[in-house]
C-alpha cells in the first residue's frame, strides 16, 4: 500500500497537516483559555473564527482595507463583539451549570451563521492571497502565504503561552482559574478580568479567521465544520491546558495529513479515534496532569 508515495505527495500532505494543525492549535488554545478561567464551553468559537474571516473580507471589499490591516482590525472587531456577547448572554448565566454556557453559545452560533448566510449567501467568497507565489524546495513547492501562516501561528501560540505561563498577568489568570474568590479577595476585579479574557480568546478566533481567509473559502459554515475537530483537540489535550491545546493541535494536524498519505480512508476519522483512546485511557486529557495538581 505504500507504493506510489512520492515525496511531493508526502510533503504536500505534511504541509497541509501543519497548516491545519496551525488552525487547530490557535483555535483550541483560545477555547482552552476561555474554559480554564471561566468554565465556559465556548461553542461559538467557530462562528467567531468565521466572523474574523468575514470582517477581513468586508474590510477589503467595502473599505479597501488590505489583508495586513485586517490582520489587526478584524480580531479587534471580533474581540469587541465577544465582549458584548459575554456581557449580554454569558454573565447572566455565570452561576449556572457549565452546560448552559454551551447551550447559549451554541444558540449564538446558529444566530450568527444564520444572519451571515441570509446577508451573503452560503457559497464561499474568495479572498486573494496577499503573498502570491512561493519557492520550489526541490522536493516540493512551498507557497509563501502558507509559510507565513505556519510561522505566524507558531509565534502567536508561543507568545500567548509565554504571556500566560511567565508574566504577572498570566499569574492572575492561572490563579483565578484555580480560585477566583481568593484572587478577587486580593482586590482584583475578577469579573472584568473574565470579560477581557473572553474577549482575548474570541479575538484569537477572529485572528485565525483572518489567517484562514486566503486559504479556505470565506463562508458562513467554515467555522462549524471545524468546531467538532477543535473540540476533539481540546478534549485530547485536556480542557483548560494551554500547552496541551497547542501541542495536540499541531500533532493532530500532522497525524491527519500523514493518514491521508498512508491510509486515506481513515483520514477523516483518525482524530476522533485518538479522542476515543484518550477518553478511555486518560479521560482528563493528555496534558492535564502537567499544569494542575
Amino acid at each position: 500500500m505504500f507504493d506510489g508515495i512520492t515525496p511531493q505527495l508526502l510533503f504536500g500532505q505534511l504541509l497541509i497537516g501543519v497548516i491545519n494543525g496551525s488552525f487547530y492549535a490557535m483555535l483550541a488554545m483560545g477555547l482552552a483559555i476561555i474554559f480554564g478561567l471561566m468554565h465556559v464551553v465556548n461553542f461559538a468559537h467557530g462562528a467567531q473564527y468565521m466572523l474574523g474571516a468575514f470582517v477581513a473580507w468586508l474590510l477589503l471589499s467595502t473599505f479597501g482595507v488590505p489583508y495586513w490591516g485586517a490582520l489587526i482590525l478584524a480580531p479587534l472587531v471580533v474581540a469587541i463583539f465577544g465582549i458584548a456577547m459575554e456581557r449580554l448572554i454569558l454573565k447572566p448565566i455565570a452561576n449556572l451549570d457549565h452546560l448552559y454556557s454551551l447551550l447559549v453559545t451554541y444558540a449564538a452560533t446558529l444566530v450568527i451563521e444564520g444572519l451571515i448566510r441570509q446577508q451573503y449567501g452560503s457559497t464561499g467568497l474568495p479572498y486573494s492571497s496577499p503573498l502570491p507565489g512561493g519557492v520550489n524546495l526541490g522536493f516540493m513547492f512551498m507557497p509563501w502565504y502558507r509559510l507565513w501562516v505556519v510561522v505566524f501561528s507558531v509565534v502567536t501560540c508561543l507568545a500567548t503561552w509565554l504571556l500566560i505561563e511567565h508574566t504577572k498577568l498570566g499569574a492572575y489568570l492561572r490563579a483565578a482559574n484555580e480560585s477566583p474568590e481568593v484572587v478577587e479577595s486580593f482586590g482584583i476585579n475578577v469579573p472584568r478580568m473574565m470579560t477581557l479574557t473572553y474577549g482575548f480568546g474570541v479575538g484569537l478566533a477572529g485572528l485565525s479567521g483572518v489567517l484562514a481567509a486566503p486559504i479556505y473559502q470565506v463562508s458562513p459554515s467554515m467555522g462549524s465544520s471545524l468546531m467538532i475537530t477543535i473540540f476533539a483537540v481540546v478534549v485530547i489535550g485536556g480542557m483548560g491546558s494551554i500547552a496541551g491545546a497547542i501541542l495536540t493541535g499541531y500533532t493532530l494536524g500532522i497525524v491527519e495529513g500523514l493518514t491521508k498519505v498512508f491510509y486515506p480512508e481513515a483520514a477523516n476519522l483518525v482524530i476522533f479515534f485518538i479522542m476515543l483512546l484518550a477518553l478511555i485511557f486518560r479521560p482528563s486529557g493528555l496534558f492535564s496532569g502537567t499544569e494542575k495538581s
Binding site: 492561572r174 490563579a175 478577587e184 479577595s185 486580593f186 482586590g187 494542575k292
Partner: protein, 238 residues
C-alpha cells in the same frame, strides 16, 4: 490598652447569610476596634467561616449591616471590599498550585500605601526565600500557612481576617504563627481570627466572640476566658 469607647473599625449588625435556601447565619452582631485581635470561636459548622466570607462579600446572599470605617459593605463586591482595606486568608489557605511560591507571594497588588515590599516579606518570612521558585503547593502545611498570611500583607490592608491558621499544624508551627500574629498586632494591624484551638486563641487575643448556630451567644475578654475556661469549653464541646 484600648477602652470600650474607641469607635469600632468593624461593626457587624444582625448579619444573616444564606447558601441557596439554607440560612447559615441567623443574626450575628459584634464589633472590632482598631488594633484589637478578636477571635471568633465556636464548634464546627457554627458559622465562623460564613461570617468571614460574608464580610468579604464572597457569600453574596447576606442581609443586615457590616460597616468598615463607616462604609457599608453589604451591596459591595469582593474586590471593592478588599480595596477598602480588608485582607482575607481563607481556611483552605488558597495557595495556588499552578503558581510558584514567589508568584503566590507577589500576587496581591499594592492597594494602599504601607503594603510590605517583596523584600520585607521575605525578610519577615525567611523560609519562603529558599523555596521561592518551587510550586506553591510543594510547601509543607506550615509553610503554606505562612505564605498565605505573608502575601496578604502586600496589599497594605490593615484589617486581617484569618480563618483557622492553626488548623492541622504541628504545635511548634502553631507557636510560630502565634508569634507572627503578636508581631502584626504590635505593628498596629487589626485582626479578626477564627479559631477552634482555645490555647492558641488565648495566647494571642484581646477578646473572644462565641458563635453557635449562626448567632453570637457570648463575648468575653481574654482575662475572662482564662478565669472561666469551662464555660467556653462547653461552647466548643471539648
Amino acid at each position: 490598652m484600648l477602652d470600650d469607647t474607641t469607635a469600632p473599625l468593624l461593626e457587624v449588625r444582625d448579619l444573616r447569610a444564606w447558601y441557596a435556601e439554607s440560612q447559615a447565619l441567623q443574626g450575628v452582631t459584634f464589633d472590632v476596634r482598631p488594633g484589637e485581635l478578636v477571635t471568633l470561636i465556636g464548634r464546627n459548622g457554627a458559622g465562623k467561616t460564613t461570617t468571614l466570607r460574608s464580610i468579604m462579600g464572597i457569600v453574596k446572599n447576606r442581609k443586615g449591616s457590616i460597616r468598615f470605617e463607616g462604609n457599608e459593605l453589604i451591596g459591595r463586591r469582593t474586590f471593592q471590599i478588599a480595596r477598602l482595606g480588608l485582607a482575607y486568608c481563607p481556611e483552605e489557605r488558597g495557595i495556588f498550585s499552578s503558581l510558584s511560591v514567589r508568584e503566590n507571594l507577589t500576587l496581591p497588588p499594592h492597594l494602599k500605601s504601607g503594603g510590605m515590599s517583596d523584600e520585607e516579606l521575605l525578610k519577615a518570612f525567611p523560609n519562603l526565600r529558599a523555596r521561592a521558585g518551587s510550586r506553591g503547593t510543594s510547601l509543607s502545611g506550615g509553610e503554606q500557612q505562612m505564605l498565605a498570611i505573608a502575601r496578604i500583607l502586600r496589599n497594605g490592608c490593615r484589617f486581617l481576617l484569618l480563618d483557622e491558621p492553626s488548623e492541622g499544624l504541628a504545635p511548634v508551627i502553631v507557636k510560630e504563627i502565634g508569634a507572627q500574629l503578636r508581631r502584626l498586632k504590635a505593628q498596629g494591624y487589626t485582626i479578626l481570627l477564627v479559631e477552634q484551638n482555645l490555647n492558641f486563641a488565648r495566647s494571642v487575643a484581646d477578646r473572644h466572640v462565641v458563635i453557635e448556630h449562626g448567632a453570637v451567644v457570648d463575648q468575653l475578654s481574654n482575662e475572662d476566658l482564662a478565669a472561666d475556661m469551662d464555660r467556653v469549653k462547653t461552647y466548643l464541646g471539648v
